[in-house]
Amino acid sequence: MVVTQEGNSRLEVQNELANRFLTDRNILIAQEVSKIAKEIQCSAAQVALNWVRQQNIIAAASKNKIIPIIGARKETQIKDNLACLEFELTTEQMKTLNEVSKIELGFPHDFLNSERLKDIIYGGTYSLIRNTNAVR
């Protein structure tokens, strides 16, 4: 994973940002992104952008509601980013990326999602109710 960028990039100018982003966890994620990019012969930026564009982990209705804001210092960079519109990541690639980048939701979400609490709230009927109101 190459983290150095050529001249005057934001991470070079703002050390504080660089220190925040260049963690072991983020480099692992970046390596997975690079691997997929190499496989399908596109840029890492396009893979990262399409993960956001295809994201529907919260609700199916949220797909295509996220609009990435792309920024560039060079014409070549913006053209590269714009080309993310030409392809989609496969379900398998999305799954790999979701896995390597996953986070814990923490309280109260993990607590509310636990089987123990579902049993307390629904008394064994949860699986019998057609859930058409789900947000998550």
């Binding site: 295509n64 053209k79 980013n81 947000v135």
Partner: protein, 211 residues
């Protein structure tokens, strides 16, 4: 390039938005005016109509460049800018979300952008010192005055956005139509509160320009 409807509104925005924080070299890592024009043209040639800037970006240069680039075809673009950031160091009323800063920030943005309206006006960040009712009523006044068409909010806790939209809805004021946040493979924490909220209340847009 296809279009999306912004949040619950009928406004058509292209599926990629052009972020203009890199427009101007005042912050040490941006692009020259010539390169900015090339970036802008590449985006427009690809079918983009959605431009995002802020009053504070490159100390006003970003807005000035965009004002020049869109001048001949202003109405085609969905032009978005933001207020909140302090623009006169040492003056407590030159920053924050209160009515006075909103008024002076908006007037200054309109002047730099060389236009008489903003399509989408963003609150740049939550200012805990300004009551939510003051901010929402003042934004609604700007909408009714025709100076801005839609409103959105960036960098705020989910409970603040929920409270603001609920208050606005109950009082018949303009509600936030967009949420602008950091969201990427390395920053998925918005999945806890902000994204479910946005699914229910508004739409969301991601900021991530780490060039």
């Amino acid at each position: 390039m296809k279009y999306s409807l912004l949040g619950k509104s009928g406004l058509r925005v292209s599926e990629l938005c052009l972020g203009a924080m890199t427009f101007g070299e005042e912050w040490g890592w941006g692009a020259s005016k010539e390169e900015c024009h090339k970036i802008f043209n590449a985006y427009v040639d690809a079918g983009g109509n959605f431009i995002d800037t802020a009053n504070k970006y490159t100390e006003g240069t970003s807005e000035k460049y965009i004002g020049e680039f869109i001048e001949s075809d202003r109405d085609r673009f969905v032009l978005a800018t933001k207020y909140t950031s302090n623009t006169r160091r040492g003056d407590p009323n030159a920053g924050g979300n209160h009515r006075k800063n909103m008024t002076q920030s908006l007037e200054a943005s309109l002047k730099r952008l060389n236009t008489d309206y903003i399509d989408l006006y963003w609150v740049h960040a939550w200012d805990p010192l300004t009551p939510i009712e003051e901010m929402m009523r003042a934004l609604d006044d700007m909408v009714r005055a025709g100076k801005i068409l839609y409103i959105g909010i960036s960098d705020a806790p989910a409970w603040i956005v929920s409270q603001a939209n609920t208050v606005a809805n109950l009082r018949g004021w303009t509600e936030f139509t967009g949420l602008q946040i950091e969201y990427s493979l390395i920053e998925r924490t918005p999945e806890r509160e902000l994204l479910p909220m946005a699914s229910a209340l508004v739409t969301f847009r991601r900021w991530c320009t780490h060039r």
